[in-house]
Symmetry: C2
Subunit: 154 residues, 2 copies
DNA sequence: ATGGGTGCAAATCCTTTGCACTCGG
DNA sequence: CCGAGTGCAAAGGATTTGCACCCAT
């Protein structure tokens, strides 16, 4: 989901200083790569982006910084069943869900307030205090439906 | 979610013969372990159950059979962010969702037809042909809310 | 009989960790 | 300055794979 990269980077700086954590080149470079990404990036993707735009950063640092970003609430972690995780920037509070194409792997997003409210309500019905959630819909994207009209999504 | 183990095992047998796949001792033992489980089992849990009730089965076979079960639609795979996958039996078509306690790891289930319908509808709105989905709600279960009233779910 | 299944162990792949060195505040 | 952060490479843990042997059909 599109976010304002510059603004997000500023938020991250604030988070770091509030927590007495040094704002190192590496941390900022990793955060920047994620915040300006248009897609859901894997840790490796992030490392590549950083290497391209700035200066290579160690794998460990990439993972450590991604963890920080997740903890700060500025990023979200996903597992689309590919055997590794993907990350995406989060613009404060905008919940949204994902459709993952079983055929080509494309990920689409949508959001719907009524859905969000219903989810919160249903959780409370089982005496659960919801914090966040993740909805992934697997099936066929438009292109793959056309390419293979009879295909049954896996 | 509770399913009829014997019935499910029969379904698996049918699936195997329909696909010209041998119904080996190991496959049946793995399927049985999963179908009679009350919880969401990891591959290792499954192996342990099989070893206890029947005869030890190789790790590779456990994974291979779990894949078969998922492909046959008789089992479902989950990643609750623990670093490994969990599996649960699926009784034909009964969609249900999960609440995962961030504090103690307990998993609760619920289902709601209105939610299911809304999810299908929203996917179609973005020209996506949904096949199945996964909704995971993270937060605090009732016990953990009481044990730590001020805790903020992660 | 016989083609696929199984077990074992080695291989993979993503992610984490230990440690000496470097740097931001 | 100095404790936290970084890079490297080695470790870790779940899952997969290669291959000789075995068993349902």
């Amino acid at each position: 989901m599109k976010v304002d990269g510059a603004r997000q980077l500023e938020e991250f700086r604030r988070y770091l200083s509030e927590h007495n954590l040094p704002a190192t080149q590496q941390r900022l470079a990793v955060a920047e790569a994620l915040f300006y990404a248009v897609d859901h990036l894997s840790a490796e993707d992030v490392a590549k982006q950083v290497a391209k735009k700035r200066r290579p950063v160690g794998t460990a640092t990439v993972y450590r910084t991604l963890d920080l970003l997740v903890q700060s609430g500025l990023a979200r972690e996903h597992d689309f069943g590919e055997g590794f995780k993907r990350y995406e920037p989060v613009a404060g509070g905008q919940a949204h869900e994902h459709c993952i194409c079983s055929s080509c792997g494309r990920v689409m997003e949508f959001s719907n307030d009524r859905l969000e409210r219903m989810i919160a309500l249903l959780a409370e019905e089982v005496e659960f205090r919801p914090h966040h959630h993740r909805l992934e819909i697997y099936g066929l994207c438009r292109d793959c439906q056309q390419a293979n009209p009879l295909a049954r999504a896996r």
